[in-house]
């Protein structure tokens, strides 16, 4: 309960920053809308999960680009937000610990805050794409993007703890672009991606999102399991790492 109250207070601190809130709205809106209108108006063949197997279908390329930009933007923004939430935490949590807040509560607060920002960014990005083209299964499409956001949000937070402010920023500018922007993007990698690309954190969520957008059936259970496992594992690792870190103060 204390963790929830604390995370609400900290979230309010971010919401008071007008520039940050504006950028959180402007960046997904500009990226997704621009990608929709600058893509060549033609069909493209992609492979999706249908009737228990992977089958090729033709989709309208601007719709595909608009759909794939949602996990890309979500991963970028959630990752960078996770990184700097942890940077702020490193400054503030020492004082909170002195004030008597337990390490477990501090860790839970940061996990709640990063989860909320990541989910918020995913909802916003999914909402922007719906202005231009409506994914066939909106609920699964949004859920898949929330899973992408959670994974990258915690990767960002852990990147700060592992590599510091500048090293973490380097990582979070490149990792989402390489993972989701290249390896999981059906416009970049035509056909079935090689097995090693499926081990990356963006694989499950992105595949689920594309399936939900164009087949209306998010029934690729392997992709769903991969996305949930990555999100859950990163949440647990983050919780444990944050707790240990808060306990050491």
């Amino acid at each position: 309960m204390i963790a929830l109250e604390l995370s609400l207070v900290l979230a309010r601190q971010y919401l008071r920053n007008a520039l940050l809130v504006s950028l959180l709205i402007i960046v997904p809106t500009v990226f997704i809308s621009t990608s929709y209108y600058t893509t060549r108006a033609t069909d493209i063949e992609i492979i999706v999960t249908m009737a228990g197997g992977r089958r090729p279908i033709d989709v309208w390329m601007p719709d595909l680009h608009g759909a794939i930009m949602v996990p890309i933007v979500t991963a970028f923004l959630a990752g960078i937000a996770g990184l700097f939430v942890m940077l702020d935490a490193s400054r503030a949590d020492g004082r909170l610990a002195i004030a008597g807040v337990s390490p477990r509560t501090l860790a839970a607060t940061r996990v709640l805050l990063i989860s909320s920002i990541s989910a918020g960014v995913a909802f916003l990005a999914a909402g922007v794409t719906m202005i231009h083209s409506r994914p066939e299964d909106i609920a699964v499409f949004t859920f898949a993007n929330v899973l992408v956001g959670l994974s990258d949000g915690f990767i960002g937070a852990l990147a700060f703890l592992a590599a510091g402010r500048l090293g973490g920023a380097y990582l979070m500018l490149f990792v989402p672009m390489i993972d989701i922007g290249i390896f999981q993007d059906p416009m970049m990698i035509s056909g079935e991606p090689p097995a090693w690309m499926k081990w990356w954190p963006g694989f499950g969520g992105t595949r689920l999102a594309i399936d939900a957008a164009f087949t209306g059936r998010g029934d690729d259970w392997a992709a769903l399991a991969a996305a949930v496992l990555w999100a859950a594992a990163l949440t647990m690792v983050a919780l444990e790492t944050f707790t240990r870190r808060a306990g050491l103060r």
Binding site: G167, D185, M188, I189
Partner: protein, 236 residues
């Protein structure tokens, strides 16, 4: 460069080198990015309406990696040193010396980022004019270093600054460059537009337009001027 600027530059270099993760990432990220993006980007260019081969895609990836790294490094380093700069000026250091040290640091970062990306491209791809490629990559990286420095004086928060860098870079790379087949006057307003075209020309043939060099150099100088003015205003 005077002894005060040199001492400041040496201290900043030591501070950066004391965090080996930063150095390692600075060296390994451009090659990784070039290799990952090079093969895929020619397909993506076809999607957007541009016309790139694998050779030009690899060269463009080097420019992007160098620009993104030098822009973000300059932003974070200058943004972190704002208070220290103010104290140095209060303690009697010439404002110009601080500015020269920052300009030199940003140029070194841009050259280093450009050279690592360039090295991997030359090792893996047959480039028509490596010299022009290196020059274009370093000019693009320097322009982004100036953008990073200017942003550090205008935007206070790390999070907001990162979002602006991502926003400018994505527009620059995906919409205003050869990847998107951009035409008309508006792409000229983005710092990587002409360096990107130079990179494409250098990759395919040695016939590089002097007008593009002039525009790139002029734009980069303008950005350096904006960064210097922002610095001066901050320290005034």
């Amino acid at each position: 460069m005077g002894p005060a600027s040199l001492a400041l530059l040496r201290a900043a270099g030591k501070q950066y080198a004391r965090q080996p993760t930063n150095v390692v990432l600075f060296v390994i990220l451009p090659p990784l990015f070039v290799l990952a993006l090079g093969a895929a980007m020619s397909t993506f260019s076809d999607v957007l309406g541009g016309n790139l081969t694998e050779r030009t895609s690899t060269a463009l990836a080097a420019l992007w990696a160098a620009a993104l790294l030098s822009g973000s490094a300059s932003f974070f380093i200058v943004s972190a040193s704002r208070r220290a700069d103010e104290r140095l000026v209060i303690a009697g250091m010439q404002r110009g010396a601080v500015e020269v040290a920052h300009a030199a640091a940003a140029t070194i970062m841009a050259s280093a980022a450009g050279t690592t990306g360039f090295a991997i491209v030359v090792m893996t791809t047959d480039i028509a004019s490596p010299i022009h490629l290196l020059a274009a990559v370093v000019v693009g990286a320097t322009a982004y270093a100036a953008v990073g420095v200017a942003l550090a004086f205008v935007i206070r928060g790390d999070l907001e600054g990162s979002f602006v860098i991502i926003l400018v870079f994505m527009f620059d790379a995906f919409i205003a460059g050869p990847l998107g087949g951009a035409d008309g006057f508006w792409p000229n307003l983005f710092p990587l537009h002409h360096p990107s075209e130079l990179v494409v020309d250098a990759a395919l043939n040695a016939d590089v337009s002097a007008a593009r060099y002039l525009w790139s150099a002029g734009y980069t100088l303008l950005l350096i001027g904006v960064a210097a003015a922002a610095h001066k205003r901050r320290l005034a």
